[in-house]
Symmetry: C2
Subunit: 203 residues, 2 copies
């Protein structure tokens, strides 16, 4: 008997399972993109992914797991895209701001999607630790990569860099939450991020 759960195990299962998993995440993405958190209804995801409700729950044990997994996929892709690119800017603050503004632009282009994923992330509890960890790693990687300008050879990332990256990630998340929940505008959010980063990264 296999206790393995197709969504969390490192063993990704058969091709059919990988295919189902992808269909489910794609459906989640589409629904989130067009209708936000509320539109990602488990029955709707199951139907759009052409999968029974029970199967959906076998792959992702809750709506939050599902959305955070989708977020993880997004961030992973973004981190990979960014990694193969040099980051312009003379100071750490400039480079980090460049990257974060670029990501912010992407997110503002899909506000519903961003809302859905952010809400899920903020609501997740420890049972979602694995999925959360993926997101946290990608975020830290994005920030440290920006700090060091993207030169691939000497990624001299020490502990302090990671600590700084985590603080920046915190501010980023809080700012994202304010924006997503309509508490502050895109411009205010950008300004706030800039303030914070220049405060944290005065070289």
């Amino acid at each position: 008997m296999s206790i393995a759960n197709p969504s969390t195990s490192d063993d990704l299962g058969s091709a059919a399972q990988r295919e189902r998993r992808k269909r489910i995440l794609d459906a989640t993405y589409e629904l989130a993109k067009s209708g936000g958190f509320d539109a990602v209804q488990m029955r709707a995801v199951a139907e759009q992914a052409d999968v029974a409700l029970g199967t959906l729950y076998r792959y992702f044990p809750s709506k939050i797991h599902l959305l955070v997994s989708a977020l993880g996929r997004q961030f992973d892709e973004a981190a990979v895209r960014l990694r193969e690119r040099e980051i312009p800017g003379d100071t750490q603050a400039d480079r980090v701001l460049y990257v974060l503004k670029r990501m912010a632009r992407g997110m503002q282009g899909d506000p519903k999607l961003t809302e859905a994923l952010t809400r899920a992330f903020m609501f997740a509890d420890s049972s979602v630790a694995n999925e959360i960890h993926v997101v946290g790693m990608a975020m830290t990687s994005i920030v440290t990569h920006a700090m060091h300008g993207g030169v691939p050879g000497e990624e001299a990332v020490d502990d302090e860099d990671v600590a700084i990256a985590r603080v920046i990630g915190d501010v980023w998340l809080s700012a994202l939450v304010s924006w997503v929940t309509g508490r502050s505008s895109a411009a205010e959010t950008a300004a706030h991020m800039e303030t914070a980063i220049r405060l944290i990264l005065r070289d």
Copy 2:
């Protein structure tokens, strides 16, 4: 006809209404304290506050409004208690850390309560803007007050102080979320806060 909603209007209504409102918030507090977010069930709150379900919804249009209002009351009280007190510590960082650690101790003493209120805060959307604002103000006030050592006379709080306080508030919130959702321990959270604040407030 009065469009006024007893919970959001500045007009607090009759004594009976104020009394009901208090009973509701008290019931919320009790349930949150003993069982966390999930235990704050609208039917249970209504019953414990000795109020009909419909009335509960008239006072607080959603569970999130209810919990964020309860959080606001908590923070307000904390801010007031803190305001009438001098904050020990030689540097801004020391004083802010002193205050935040003190608040953290309080929160760790009531983990369920903290979980409930924090989850609600993080999940709130723009319809909860008013209640959120109360919390944000209290938080900023607590931090700026700590920065200036609590000398009541010359509260020379300028815009930059507020910006800094907001960044600290962001980190605080993120740290709180990690702790509340079981992603990091109290010790890790404290260490992370210390790192962040020393980074932001190197005098």
